[in-house]
Subunit: 137 residues, 2 copies
């Protein structure tokens, strides 16, 4: 059994920050759960463009408001506590937080904790240490 | 992209109740994400004994307080918002909610939504329709 506290993770190297978001990784690939589990804050006023070419991700909004634009369908969804979205088809998307948005995120395959979004807004698979201060573009 | 609202799931057959807990399944096996994602309420005053022989599970406490007893080690952990526990080794455990506990749960492999805890407190793998009103024992 693994027991971890978010407040401890936030002070550790399992907490990763960029200019647009920060993410506390509660579980990573090395934990051998078959997924990784993160608590992420997306910062108010940012426009965060993402495209996970190598991962599926589910996001549950816990706090805050904003919008999610699905670039494939062109549909924009409102985000608030209790909304869940799943990128089941490597969907290109943009999140525009109106306030800071706190969310719980699950990735399959699990991220290692060492990758950051690359120039396409994707996480590479099995990336080694890149930069932890990269901006999602 | 899949977008679902917790309030809608709670009114649907993706919301499963027992005497000791209820669970809104935001994502299930058929969603092909490789995991299932639930928002679960464990009721105050219950003693919920569980042993997932066929699944790994991660639980993030969102609200409420209680304790988690790891029957393997004999250690009891306090539960409150921000505590995460992961059953990485099919750990036998007991949760004793002092208040209602709201949590976000991830299962690997994903549950189908039709199984309930069996007499051992486990979810069978690929169970067909059993009873949705069973009590975890």
């Amino acid at each position: 059994m693994i027991v971890r506290k978010l407040q401890d993770i936030r002070k550790s190297d399992m907490n990763v920050k960029s200019d647009q978001w920060e993410s506390a990784r509660l579980l990573l690939k090395d934990d051998d759960m078959g997924f990784s589990f993160h608590v992420t804050t997306m910062y108010a006023g940012e426009e965060i463009r993402m495209h996970y070419q190598n991962h599926q991700e589910a996001v549950l909004i816990l706090k805050g408001t904003g919008t999610l634009e699905d670039l494939g369908s062109g549909i924009t969804h409102p985000l608030k506590a209790g909304v869940m979205y799943a990128l089941n088809d490597h969907d290109r998307h943009v999140v525009r937080p109106e306030t800071d948005i706190l969310c719980a995120c699950v990735f399959n395959p699990p991220v290692t904790g060492r990758e950051v979004h690359d120039e396409n807004g994707a996480y590479p698979v099995e990336a080694d240490l890149i930069r932890v201060d990269a901006t999602v573009t």
